[in-house]
Symmetry: C2
Subunit: 346 residues, 2 copies
């Protein structure tokens, strides 16, 4: 067994590549299989996007500081975010969960109340699921479906050279929220009498515990008549996501450090933790913002939009993948985003 390859050595993406290599698609209704935010299917003349995400206790969430309602909400959001990243409209979800015996009906109802709240807010129908037991821990798996106009599907592979790189909202806050929760958990474990010190950190906590999916950005771009050339949602950190777009579009990129949007509270939190805010923005996960590329002819319109930030441009492949700091030499971008298999995060 020691000769077998540990998954940590190859990572999730390497593993998925190896497992899905050479898959032959048999149905004409399958337009695009594995490899983007969602699969694209075609039923009659309607293009449908499908995505699935699994959250496991102890890996993606800690029930010590994640309220069940928030967990349910976030589990839906992380799936809807993938639908929006395809430029789609989320329409239905199915929810599967495995729960251990410690869970009571009331706990599950709490979890479901978050799922239902997200469904109501994003106008998505909960149409099915499976509830079963587990020996230990909670496991939550959601599959989301959506519709998309076939002329407007945004694959990761569509970026062109010199296209603008844009992100919505701000980055790194969800990661700093997680750091704060982890710190206060440790303080509490060491001394249960000490009250957690969360004051003034509402924003980073909300970004971690109750994130939103950027349906509004997809709608805004549509109103502005701007069709992104590629799009992906930021669940694993900016650095990892832009590299997906680069790899699948066969291009390089240049990103300007001082253009990356970071909220003031994220900056202060990072300072408290003695880390550079940009590290949280580049490598922190779970922001669920949209990262997209657009034609340079859309520059004027995009640069005037609140909540959309132009942070760089797509370069030729041989120019590599670089972050350009305010001062000093360009830094090569690497995928160090959140990965459930990596061991360095205790």
């Amino acid at each position: 067994m020691s000769e077998d390859t540990k998954i940590t050595n190859i990572g999730e993406f390497g593993l998925i590549n190896s497992l899905t290599e050479g898959l032959v698609l048999q149905h004409t209704s399958t337009v695009k299989g594995v490899g983007d935010d969602a699969a694209v299917l075609k039923f009659d003349n309607q293009f449908v996007v499908v995505t699935t995400d699994m959250l496991t206790e102890g890996i993606h969430f800690n029930l010590m500081y994640t309220p069940l309602k928030h967990l349910g909400y976030k589990a839906v959001i992380s799936n809807l975010s993938d639908i929006y990243a395809m430029n789609g409209t989320a329409t239905q979800i199915v929810v599967s969960m495995a729960i251990s015996k410690k869970f009571t009906n009331e706990w599950i109802e709490e979890l479901y109340s978050g799922i239902r709240l997200a469904c109501e807010k994003y106008k998505v129908d909960l149409v099915g699921g499976d509830i079963t037991s587990s020996l230990t821990g909670l496991n939550l798996s959601i599959t989301a479906l959506g519709t998309v106009d076939d002329k407007k599907i945004t694959y990761r592979s569509g970026a062109g050279e010199n296209d603008l790189i844009c992100v919505s909202g701000d980055l790194g806050a969800a990661y700093m929220g997680l750091q704060l929760l982890e710190r206060e958990k440790k303080v509490f474990q060491d001394n249960p009498d000490v009250q957690p010190d969360m004051e003034g950190h509402d924003y980073v906590l909300e970004r971690q515990l109750k994130p939103e999916a950027r349906k509004d950005i997809v709608e805004k771009l549509s109103e502005l008549n701007i069709l992104p050339t590629s799009m992906i949602d930021i669940s694993d950190g900016l650095s990892s996501e832009i590299l997906h777009i680069c790899n699948q579009s066969g291009l390089g990129c240049k990103i300007y450090a001082d253009k990356i949007p970071i909220d003031g509270e994220t900056g202060l939190m990072a300072q408290e933790f003695n880390m550079e805010p940009i590290v949280a923005a580049l490598h922190g996960g779970e922001d669920y913002e949209l990262l997209f590329t657009a034609k340079i002819s859309d520059f004027d319109t995009l640069s005037q939009q609140e909540g959309i930030h132009i942070i760089g441009y797509m370069a030729a492949k041989d120019e590599g993948y670089y972050l350009i700091p305010g001062q000093g030499s360009p830094i090569e971008l690497k995928a160090q985003g959140w990965d459930g298999f990596r061991e360095e995060e205790a």
Copy 2:
């Protein structure tokens, strides 16, 4: 916490009912939500069925005697079975899994080889998924999609009074296979030098470890121009499944014990375990056969089909739900099928 309701007291179906009560469906593309083998959606003019199932280590399978390839195969089968139970054609699946650190790449590839084998055999496209880690145990969640002719959708609710009740194949074998595996596991644990005694039990073992979904029955019924009035797949035992049809169709039923198809090997195995074979057929799960109702005018055609058995008929609701034994008084049918939450099975 002691005031909260334990899930074992209400069961999976009660819980799902309570969680999904009052759900408002917002999309015209949602034709039928929670409550059947699969949800029914409509994209353009194509009706699409969607179903999801989760398997957890220690509850649905034991890796001590379940080869990973078989597990992958079975996980796909259990989903496809739900699509066929809607009278649909399975077209795509997405696969999510959470795996603990003990899993190597080679193990996962073994699991995937079973998933891919089932996809090839049933002509289904694997179009997406998620692989993540878990603290302990393997968790596998699959969502399957299929297409269905809207005039041929078979809901659980469509049975009429006096309709014939039919099942495909034979019942109880998967359950007896499980009993055998559990027995040999205990023998092995008590004395690792004793070789497991599996000889002559190929059929029940195969039914447990590598079940098939009855795509062929759906195709045969279509060729025969027989449209079932209702259909469900038998994953929780005949007794539990016929009660779903009764409840959703607002009817009762009469099932003749000596008409229930039980393979000879299942009978011998039951004898070895000192149990009545019919108990395995009524309450044993995981056979993945189809249970359907049909018009009495189809009697002649159905009674001539190999692999299809007419076992009873739908009665008025006030006649109740009864098993008619060869001798003695009718026995009321109860849902004692496999339920992941029930505690009596160690």
